[in-house]
Amino acid sequence: MSNQTSTRSLSCCITQVLLQLESQTDGWTPTFLMRFMLLFSRQGKLRLQKWYTATAERDKKKMVRELMQIVLARKPKMCSFLEWRDLKIVYKRYASLYFCCAIEEQDNELITLEVIHRFVELLDKYFGSVCELDIIFNFEKAYFILDEFLMGGEIQDTSKKSVLKAIEQADLLQEEDESPRSVLEEMGLA
């Protein structure tokens, strides 16, 4: 600040708050690391969880509970970002499901929103207009799709085609005697 040259003492009441503020200006840690992603329903049922840093099971449960409570209490028109602990939460609701990502202080919130959206698009393409039930009954597929898209919290490929191709290849590798899937052909890279 240009006029921070005041020499008078400022000895009182400085807390972390201020230094946090200050560090926003210079504490650059240019990473794009997602800490975790959660999918939960409006009723507070966890549908998918992916943790990108080592977290104890007990902490996970606590964090999930706490976050669900906060996010579910928010009103529709509120902004999609909120500060929580030392993290930033980016969330968006699609129909009955909340998609919720935790990123670091310096990370790009808007691009994270679009990470969520791209993931939803991928699910949508794969399941054909995805709904919560698809994710409940095919939870393993949802995990596979997420793994193809994000790895270690980083986006692996942003191309919808590449990701879906990888998933389809995997499906094609299944038992040969399975009948060919019309839906596959439908989206078939056309």
């Binding site: 054909g128 986006i155 692996q156």
Partner: protein, 953 residues
């Protein structure tokens, strides 16, 4: 059922999931799950080898159960088996299970690593990807140890497929993040940088993430990435939106890659090469220009992606902080967003502007938006956005707008959310002091703060206002007048009473000329609050009263009456009572001169720059967290006597030292409040406390080490479980396949404390966990136990404290009853607690003469008990010594004429009596026999002790 059910379609799984969904209650769900678990367990244990499909199905079910939040403690082996399947889906499920439920079982890790190695070597890209995903998902140190050198090789090998390269790059990134020391830098680093030139944008995206992280730690090794990144970025921003085909997202060219490249560039200063720098500036300008273009799509995804790149570009501009035009353009762009209809954009604009406000080039530009920001504070409906507005107002504040901003913050404070009140209070306090031109404004502001949000005003804030008032002659009269007026309010915050008491005590005389605030009025006003205040504030008020006696001799009588009243002199609080007594005495015996010297006005605090401010100014380096202790110390450190008083010790300090606990330094402010619970003094006492408890735990550790040596002896020689604890206090009391119970006990005189540790050995929760102690005879032995948490998590340990009081000598040990629910069945465990009479021994050293004199005194036949018994353990002299000491008596050397014999003495402490005890143990090594003789003043005690001790040898 889902619209698409691809591939395998595990019917059993779908049925199971349906069942779970149909469960009406949590109990029903648990029942269904337990049934399924039993089924799977039996299938896995069955004689018939399962085919791959069934294995996959059951592993998948287990995974589902785990994801529902239940513990899974089997199936790992079956999942590992799936890894080596040739069928893709089986392998895939195996890997998924391993990624989600890693087990640190070393055998398993070896098998997993083997499977991964095979898949990495398979040259089948799909299998390689699965393996890389697994490494990244687990990301443990073991994984890093096994694969940290292999993954870079795959990454840069010429024949690696693009998709595998992407996975390898991110996998390596994950390993580097968790174990940087294990990832060797080498030739591959140069080749990784060149991946930025790769044809495949997916590869470039993954590589950029990797390089950014590596460059943070090793900027020099990756310097060449800057020019490549700029070139790449320039090609992206200048491309038409369709050029990048599948990498165009809602008409925005490769937004993810752009953001990542801009992040990578934030690892470095602006390029020195002029051409490169020009090219980068051009890119940034293009991005800023694009923000002004009409949107190519109405979809929010389009604007989000576009703005994600824009915000990242602004971050880079702020990071470089070198191009004034770019900074101002960025600021104007953000200014537009401040009024955008998208809440998200308003939030981000406020946030981003905070950092712009700290650049000298854009500070003025940010200030022009003050009205908009103030408006946001008033109208935003989302508290997180309002919070950002507060931050920005704080950041843009300087001398020119401080009054306006402080006033707005104060008025917002009246209705502010509780969650951010304290923060606002601090910010207002800092701004008010920092930009105060005249101190009357400062005093008004702080008093307003206390009035509006007294509960959120921390001690530091009101200390500071007192420091400033004491140091500035020009504001003292005003301050006295203002607090006097503020105190008129029928209900005022206790913090105001503190400030008021202090300031009137010092400067009440400055307003005493006005009959409306005559000394008596002032005193009555303060005293009217007295009874509503907490002890620390009352103590402060008493100090103010004694100061009044000096300032206004005319109210001396009134004040003395108050001090003399029973409610003061006989106050239950020691501090208040002592202050009242001493102040009263002082006012009676001291002459006016002495009073005037003793109760002289406080000397000014030395002006010096706070170390925190220095820290703030330096503001270099991330993670520069404030040292709270430092800042606190500074608050008090300010309060050293100033030069003019040096040489003569300050009387006030002395006076207060008389009646306060020794102060930590010569800090006056703290002295005055030394017994009020200031954060500073709390801090100190906490520190003392922890230092104390450290010593205690050190002592305990030493003690337990000693006990450990004893217990090593004992475990070697004493197998009898029941009597194992007679001579030791710590150890494992009980263990089965579910639960382990450990003990640590301490005894002192007739009191004992046992720390019982319950360890859950399973991975499942114990529910309804409870434990109680039943004492066979509560008249003789009292055991009080504190309740424990009803839930004991898998693998966790909880502690319970038992307090024991020995009322009189007793025979039987209390019983510890434990009850909990594990996997649906109720478990009941009852164990005898090793609380024996000898635990209440206090060893007594005595001379040979004393010993024999007492031995004779205890000569009545019923007082002596003797037992001759065969040695159960090898007759080792040292072991025997250790046992006798462990038993609790003092081992007396040189008392018995036969040096082979052992003699001991001690006193059993019970609440009702004390029982002296003498013992003698005579070993006969040839016959492998002992003779134990005990004499105590009570026959029952003799018998009991003899029984206990004779079992030990």
């Amino acid at each position: 059922m889902p619209a698409v059910s691809k591939g395998d379609g595990m019917r059993g799984l779908a049925v199971f999931i349906s069942d779970i969904r149909n469960c009406k209650s949590k109990e029903a769900e648990i029942k269904r799950i337990n049934k399924e678990l039993a089924n799977i367990r039996s299938k896995f244990k069955g004689d018939k080898a399962l085919d791959g499909y069934s294995k996959k199905k059951y592993v998948c079910k287990l995974l589902f159960i785990f994801l529902l939040g239940h513990d899974i403690d089997f199936g790992h082996m079956e999942a590992v088996n799936l890894l080596s399947s040739n069928k893709y889906t089986e392998k895939q499920i195996g890997y998924l299970f391993i990624s989600v439920l890693v087990n640190s079982n070393s055998d398993l890790i070896r098998l997993i690593n083997n499977a991964i190695k095979n898949d990495l070597a398979s040259r089948n890209p799909t299998f390689m990807n699965l393996a890389l995903h697994c490494i990244a998902n687990v990301g443990s140190r073991e994984m890093a140890e096994a694969f940290a050198s292999e993954v870079p090789r795959i990454l840069v090998a010429g024949d690696t497929m693009d998709s595998v390269k992407q996975s390898a790059a991110l996998c390596l990134l994950r390993l580097y993040r968790s174990s940087p020391d294990l990832v060797p830098m080498g030739d591959w680093t140069a080749r990784v940088v060149h991946l930025l030139n790769d044809q495949h944008l997916g590869v470039v995206t993954a590589a950029t993430s990797l390089i950014t992280t590596l460059a943070q730690k090793n900027p020099d090794d990756f310097k060449t990435s800057v020019s490549l990144a700029v070139a790449r970025l320039s090609r992206i921003v200048s491309s038409a939106s369709i050029d990048l085909q599948d990498y165009t997202y809602y008409f925005v060219a490769a937004p993810w890659l752009s953001v990542k490249l801009l992040r990578l560039l934030q690892c470095y200063p602006p390029p020195e090469d002029a051409a490169l720098r020009g090219r980068l500036t051009e890119c940034l300008e293009t991005i800023l220009n694009k923000a002004q273009e009409p949107p190519k799509s109405k979809k929010v995804q389009h604007s989000n992606a576009k703005n994600a790149v824009l915000f990242e570009a602004i971050s880079l501009i702020i990071h470089h902080d070198s191009e004034p035009t770019l900074l101002v353009r960025a600021c104007n762009q953000l200014g537009q967003f401040l009024q955008h209809r998208e809440t998200n954009l308003r939030y981000l604009a406020l946030e981003s502007m905070c950092t712009l406000a700290s650049s000298e080039f854009s500070h003025e530009a940010v200030k022009t938006h003050i009205e908009t920001v103030i408006n946001a504070l008033k109208t935003e409906r989302d508290v997180s956005v309002r919070q950002r507005a507060v931050d920005l107002l704080y950041a843009m504040c300087d001398r020119s707008n401080a009054k306006q901003i402080v006033a707005e913050m104060l008025s917002y404070l009246e209705n502010a959310d509780y969650s951010i009140r304290e923060e606002i209070v601090l910010k207002v306090a800092i701004l008010a002091e920092k930009y105060a031109v005249d101190y009357t404004w400062y005093v008004d502001t702080i008093l307003n703060l206390i009035r509006i949000a007294g509960d959120y005003v921390s001690e530091e804030v009101w200390y500071r206002v007192i420091q400033i008032v004491i140091n500035r002659d020009d504001v003292q009269g005003y301050a006295a007048k203002t607090v006097f007026e503020a105190l008129q309010a029928p209900a005022c915050h206790e913090n105001l009473v503190k400030v008021g008491g202090y300031i009137l005590g010092e400067f009440g005389n400055l307003i005493a000329g006005d009959p409306r605030s005559s000394p008596l009025v002032q005193f009555n006003l303060l005293h009217s609050k007295f009874h509503l205040c907490s002890v620390p504030t009352r103590a402060l008020l008493l100090s103010a009263y004694i100061k009044f006696i000096n300032l206004f001799p005319e109210v001396k009588g009134t004040i003395q009456d108050v001090l003399r009243s029973d409610s003061q002199l006989r106050n239950a609080d020691v501090e208040l009572q002592q202050r009242a007594v001493e102040y009263l005495r002082l006012s009676c015996v001291a002459s006016t001169d002495i009073l005037a010297t003793v109760l002289e006005e406080m000397p000014p605090f030395p002006e010096r720059e706070s170390s925190i401010l220095a820290k703030l100014k330096k503001k270099k380096g991330p993670g520069h967290l404030p040292d709270i202790n430092d800042s606190r110390r500074n608050v008090n450190g300010n309060a050293e006597p100033s030069e003019k008083n040096e040489g003569s010790t300050h009387p006030f300090t002395d006076l207060l030292n008389l009646n306060s606990t020794p102060s930590t330094g010569s800090s006056l402010l703290v002295d005055v409040f030394s017994d009020t619970s200031t954060p500073a003094s709390t801090d100190v006492s906490e520190e003392n406390f922890s230092r104390w408890s450290n010593t205690v735990s050190l002592v305990l550790a030493k003690k337990s080490r000693r006990l450990l040596t004893v217990s090593i002896f004992l475990t070697k020689n004493c197998v009898l479980v029941n009597s194992r604890f007679v001579c030791k206090n710590n150890g494992v009391l009980y263990e089965n396949h579910l639960l382990q119970i450990g003990l640590r006990s301490e005894y002192r005189q007739n009191l004992g404390r046992i720390y019982v540790f319950y360890g859950n050995k399973t991975s499942a929760q114990f529910l309804n966990f409870s434990s109680s102690v039943s004492s066979p005879d509560t008249l003789k032995l009292n055991v009080h136990c504190k309740a424990v948490d009803p839930i004991l998590e898998g693998g966790a340990q909880i502690q319970q404290i038992l307090n024991i009081e020995c009322v009189s000598d007793f025979m039987d040990e209390p019983v510890l009853n434990i009850q909990f629910r594990h996997g649906g069945t109720l478990q009941n465990i009852a164990v005898k607690l090793p609380v024996m009479l000898n635990k209440f021994f206090q060893p007594t050293e005595m001379t040979s003469q004393d010993f024999f004199q007492r031995w004779k005194q205890l000569g009545a036949p019923q007082q002596e008990v003797q037992k001759i018994f065969k040695a159960k353990h090898p007759m080792d002299k040292d072991v025997t010594r250790a046992k006798i000491i462990g038993f609790g008596v003092a081992l007396l050397d040189g008392v018995d004429p036969n040096s082979e014999n052992f003699v001991g003495a001690g006193i059993i402490h019970t609440k009702s009596t004390q029982v002296g005890c003498l013992l003698r143990l005579e070993p006969n090594t040839q016959a492998q026999m002992y003779r134990l003789t005990l004499r105590t003043s009570r026959d029952t005690v003799s018998v009991r002790l003899c029984d206990l001790l004779s079992e030990q040898f």
